[in-house]
Amino acid sequence: MSSRRDPLPKAPTGILGFDEITEGGLPRGRPTLICGSAGCGKTLFAMEFLVRGATQFEEPGVFIAFEETAEELTQNVASLGFDLDELVAREQLALDFVAIERNELEETGDFDLSGLFIRLGYAIDSIGAKRVVLDTLEAVFAGLPNPVILRAELRRLLRWLKDKGVTAIVTGERGDGQLTRQGLEEYVSDCVITLDHQQREQTWTRRLRVVKYRGSSHGTNDYPFLIDAQGLSVTPITSLGLDHTVSNERISTGITRLDAMLGDAGYFRGSSILVSGTAGTGKSSLAGHFASAACARGERVLYFAFEESPSQIQRNLSAIGLDLAHWVDQGLLQFHATRPSFSGLEMHLSLIHRAVQQFEPSAVILDPLNSFVSGNNTLEVKAMLTRLIDFLKTRQITALFTSLTTGGESLERTDSAISSLIDSWLLLMAVNTGGERNRTLSVLKSRGMAHSNQTREFLITNDGIELREVYLGPDGVLTGSARAVWESAEESERLARRQEIERRQHELERRRAVLDAQITALRQEFEAQEAETMAMIERERERETQRQQDRASVASLRRAGPAQRSPEANNP
């Protein structure tokens, strides 16, 4: 691109977001055409360009109004906080109302618009203006005869503005089949911007598009913009792309068991989390825990509530032991409650943006997300979310969205429109078993971490959320009292088994005792026999000895020698 070699000088508008889309503002020293239908904000855009130029960039400006008087204009923009009278008094702004009333004018021959040139030139020179607005130039066509001359003069005027070196905005009404009624876009070749005000699903949204920007790259999307008490703000999120840095830091979910399910550490900082489930499954409670944990770490949290009022959320969460009110008091938690139907998607996005920029939170909660979805606008919701998530990610803001799914539909399908954008997706379900509704929680996906594949029972108690193991019975997952029954049945079975083992052990003991007794008895018997036998042997041996002694004494009595003893021995 040529702009890289020789960058086109640009004049910053000071309009929030617009300078990002156009990479610096409007082409300096050249005219820009802003066109759109009535009431789409052309005049305000142009006026903010001048006011910001005068107050922020030291570039005085001239506003030539063809449709409103200076007084009307001053009043109209006072609501945006612009004090034109003061700027005029300080010679930073010049207002000139050019009144054209056709019925006063008879064309009597050749003419030109030198009068306009002179007035403009005079106004520019009187304050040394660098910026000029002509609003709306087409009024000249409505007020003056002879379009042929007017077209030629218009071309000359734009040429003349370029030669003057002023950065100019020319506004034009949207026409049929072309950008402006009088084809002004033919004359302004440098930069063309369209403003639009569209109705979708009963809400109106302002949009801005850079149709053409010669010599410069620019975002080409429809950018929503907002007019409020601080002026215009354009939402240029899509221009951010996917080049944001990611954090490895992990932050707690506020529930220890859930942290454990998410790889023992919780969510990634700056990730996007979706909590989806049917009505009453505890989505807001989960969000409340997360908010409370973040505040406890001293981080700021922005809570966007679309269906409940802040006080109602606080009351409900205090019932489960979460005191959010004192985080609000400490300025760590901020609630923004609006109805989704209050404004269009883009308006919501802009509001969220502005709130985030002002509060600079480290976490944002949107509860619930899908109240935006009405009819067939899921594509737009996705576009909005993409931009929102991109925006939050570049700021390392963790985003938690809750999503209400309706019964009967597949949960995965319902949220498919947005699920691809989500890093961690928790699914809350109500399980109907044994005449009870019980809640379960499972981690559907969680990018970049080893997460649990287990379903947990999810209990909302007076002390907050508790996660319990669930039991798989013959009829599926068991929760609630069925789980309790299962638990007690299992317990009694375990008891019975233990008792059986004990019984068997006793039996064994007894048998061993019997065996031991038998062994003892046998040994005693044996020992008795042995003793008896030994005694007999002993007695026999004593008897033999006795016998020999007797024989010896007999022999000595017979005086017989020992040689004679033997035959005598055989002869008792």
Partner: protein, 125 residues
């Protein structure tokens, strides 16, 4: 609108019927004040001035005054009379103020614009 006979709902800017004596003196004795805005001595502004003077001589002899304002010299005056096109003639007197643009080469239109031309019905008389 296209019924010239009905004077009562005619344009308010019309001077009432004091302009029918001889087709020359169309107005009362009032002196006309005409202001011609130009931007420098361009051929257009010179011819505009010449045309205006000829027209006045013919219809308002002796009862007119022409002020020429060159906006190149006095640009601040452009705002007061809401001047956009050049040349512009502003009839300041008699009231109401009327404006015509162009170099006055189209005399018919100039007369209508300045309300100097009798209506066709009056011409027939």
């Amino acid at each position: 609108m296209n019924q010239p006979d009905q004077d009562d709902n005619d344009a308010p800017g019309r001077v009432p019927s004091n302009h029918d004596r001889d087709g020359q003196d169309l107005t009362g004795g009032e002196t006309w004040t005409l202001r011609l805005y130009v931007a420098g001595q361009t051929p257009k502004s010179l011819s505009a001035f010449a045309n205006l003077q000829a027209l006045c001589e013919k219809h308002l002899a002796g009862r007119y005054r022409i002020e020429v304002i060159d906006l190149l010299e006095q640009p601040q005056l452009a705002q007061g009379d809401q001047i956009l096109a050049i040349p512009t003639v502003v009839r300041r007197l008699p009231l109401p103020i009327r404006k015509i643009i162009g170099d006055l080469s189209d005399v018919e239109r100039a007369l209508v614009g300045l309300d100097l031309r009798p209506s066709p019905a009056e011409k027939r008389d």
